[in-house]
């Protein structure tokens, strides 16, 4: 065994600049992932989840976004200081990404088959005929008949498009798959189908995965580890059981309370009051203090660090010293 993790994100900071305002999208996010594992990156819209994933592949918009600091170690190699050429050989080949919206993630003027073919030919030295055969095989694998190779994206439904996107991402058998809310844009019935398919393919290809989602149901279904993301930092990290059975951070607890309870004990949902802090001017203390029912003077003044609770379970909260919330 090697002494470094398969993927390790250390103190990642990403900023967007717009109209001379600096938006602090990711503020020192750190987490790690072992080979074969699935990590759920959970959090509400705007928590910086997608930015973290795009930083790993370094496909953030050049002009607007800048990675301020941090390390992204992939098998010990820092991707943030890798050459552009090296990154190109990693993208789509070793690390692939599934984007949130299948409606816009496919090029409307290229056949779906060609878009998979393109990914294959970029990373393999094979004959065109073989590349095409492999692209057709990938289509079949995600449940689309190979005869539809020459169809364009607009001739497919949303769920089918997402299957194409998944086929494209898995075409080169990547070691790590970044799935950015792969089912959010789909109907509920299609969501389950796509999710099942992803689980099967992940097992078949032995892919490690980062599953970005705001849906705790999906986390429960596919993830081994969970990182809860809030205002661009990880507020709680642990195994799926840690997070589901013993949530420590008030935000995580709040997330569970805002889910419908099927046992029927609660009639009303309990939303988390308030809004995430404005990423242009983040508070000095804990980012969650404004919304936290347990916040103290200390929480408003000092920014808490991510600290070990028990085993692999880590939490960014002073409250853990006072015992469990919630």
């Amino acid at each position: 065994m090697t002494d470094h993790a398969f993927l390790e994100v250390k103190d990642l900071r990403v900023e967007y600049t717009s109209d001379k305002q600096i938006i602090h999208a990711v503020n020192g996010a750190s987490f790690s992932l072992e080979k074969g594992e699935t990590l759920g990156l959970v959090g509400e819209t705007g928590a910086g989840k997608t930015t973290i994933a795009k930083s790993i592949l370094r496909v953030l918009p050049d002009r607007a976004a800048s990675i301020r600091s941090g390390k992204i170690l992939y098998n010990g190699e820092d991707l943030l200081s890798a050459s552009e050429e090296r990154m190109r050989s990693i993208r789509g080949n070793e690390i692939a990404m599934i984007f949130q919206d299948p409606m816009t993630a496919l090029n409307p003027t290229m056949t779906v088959g060609y878009q998979i073919f393109e990914a294959i030919m970029l990373h393999n030295t094979c004959e065109k005929a073989e590349g095409k055969a492999r692209a057709e095989a990938m289509l079949e694998k995600v449940g689309i008949p190979a005869v539809r190779y020459h169809d364009y994206p607009h001739q497919f439904s949303g769920g089918m498009k997402q299957r194409v996107v998944i086929a494209m991402a898995l075409a080169c058998n990547p070691a790590l798959l970044l799935s950015d809310e792969p089912t959010t844009a789909l109907d509920v019935t299609i969501q389950a189908q796509v999710l099942d398919m992803m689980k099967d393919l992940k097992t078949e290809f032995q892919t490690s995965m980062i599953m970005i989602t705001h849906d705790l149901g999906i986390v429960a279904e596919v993830c081994d580890k969970v990182a809860v993301c809030y205002a661009g930092e990880i507020v709680e990290y642990g195994t799926m059981e840690d997070i589901f059975d013993n949530p420590l951070h008030p935000y995580t607890v709040g997330l569970f309370h805002s889910l419908p309870d099927m046992s029927g004990k609660r009639n009303r949902l309990t939303p988390i009051k308030g809004m995430m802090p404005d990423p242009v001017s983040l508070p000095e203390g804990c980012f969650f203090a404004e919304r936290c029912p347990y916040a103290t003077e200390k929480c408003r003044e000092i920014h808490p660090q991510l600290e070990k609770a028990d085993g692999e379970h880590e939490v960014r909260c002073f409250g853990k010293e006072n015992g469990k919330h919630g």
């Binding site: 190109r88 993208r91 984007f99 090029n107 409307p108 003027t109 364009y152 607009h154």
Partner: protein, 322 residues
């Protein structure tokens, strides 16, 4: 698709007819007496009456229109009141020069404008972008005849390497084509830059990068094609506009194109000449717009599907109604 094309071509008939009636009506009520212009102020009343009778000018609004359309259907566009030369022959003689200039100028506009737009878009907010935009601002705000005169000054008068007037050799066309094409190149550059910037931000371009595609191939394979629709539109419109002839440029370089012919016709109330030119221009316009629409379907497969779907829907509805 073939049905769509045939339908669009058949539509040209009523459109051209409308154009004829519209232009004829304006000319009919316009002040000015063709006979007076043709024969001069000292002409006798008898001579004028004879002239009017010869060309049917003594008839009323409807008989004249009717006669014109009847002759047109026989392929006869009439003769000029002044030169007595057949209008269709004149147009046939002049059209090649106009078409040649229009095509070359459009090609020039694309060859110069597209790379400028691509460079500006891929180097957004750098000095390359600023320079390209400053240059295109200059090109698009200066009239083409000004460029024509400057070019003549430099290349014909000072350097003496290009002929200032004439239409016999290919060297005669260099300056007129550049003078017209510069403006078009500026419009093409600005349009392609802005539509590329829009496409560069789209998700599927990030997808292409996330696949490991090279930046240059991402631009050529994924961005360019998706940003060409507006460029096709303005290029088609510009080409159609140039088919009417470029009057000032033809004047400056003494090129016998459609522009000078039409202008002469308008200035002297020469109805057959004006109508003949207008018909040809309208037809070209119609065909070019059809061509633009067909190019759309090649560029963007979604448009082709929507045309086919719309036709299928119509046929189905007809079936239901019947």
């Amino acid at each position: 698709m073939a049905g769509y094309i045939v339908k669009r071509i058949l539509w040209l008939i009523p459109i051209t007819l409308m154009v004829i009636i519209f232009v004829y009506t304006i000319l009919f009520f316009a002040p000015g007496d063709a006979a007076r212009v043709a024969l001069g102020n000292s002409a006798s009343e008898e001579a004028i009456a004879e002239f009017n009778a010869k060309y049917g000018l003594d008839l009323g609004y409807f008989p004249r229109l009717f006669n014109y359309i009847k002759n047109l259907l026989h392929g006869d566009m009439g003769v000029s009141y002044y030169t007595h030369v057949s209008v269709s022959k004149q147009i046939a003689d002049r059209l090649p020069y106009t078409i040649l200039m229009a095509l070359l100028a459009t090609a020039f506009g694309l060859i110069v404008g597209l790379p400028m737009g691509i460079l500006a878009a891929t180097h957004q907010s750098t000095w390359i972008d600023s320079l390209a935009m400053a240059v295109t601002m200059f090109f698009s705000s200066m009239p083409s005849f000004w460029f024509a005169l400057i070019l003549v000054m430099i290349f014909s008068i000072h350097l003496k390497i290009l002929p200032a007037v004439g239409y016999e050799s290919w060297r005669n066309y260099i300056m007129p084509v550049i003078a017209i094409g510069l403006q078009l190149s500026a419009i093409v550059a600005r349009q392609s830059r802005s539509s590329m910037l829009e496409v560069i931000r789209s998700d599927y371009v990030t997808t292409a990068r996330a696949k490991g595609q090279k930046e240059s191939k991402t631009i050529t394979d994924h961005v360019l094609r998706n940003s060409m629709i507006p460029v096709v539109t303005i290029t088609g419109t510009a080409l159609a506009g140039l088919m009417g002839g470029a009057l000032l440029i033809e004047q400056i370089f003494s090129i016998p194109g459609l522009g000078t012919y039409l202008f002469g016709g308008i200035a002297s109330n020469d109805v057959p000449v004006v109508l003949g030119c207008v018909i040809v221009i309208a037809m070209f316009h119609g065909f070019l717009m059809l061509l633009v629409d067909l190019v759309y379907t090649v560029v963007d497969p979604r448009l082709k599907s929507s045309i086919i779907a719309a036709r299928a829907r119509k046929t189905n509805n007809r079936g239901v109604n019947a």
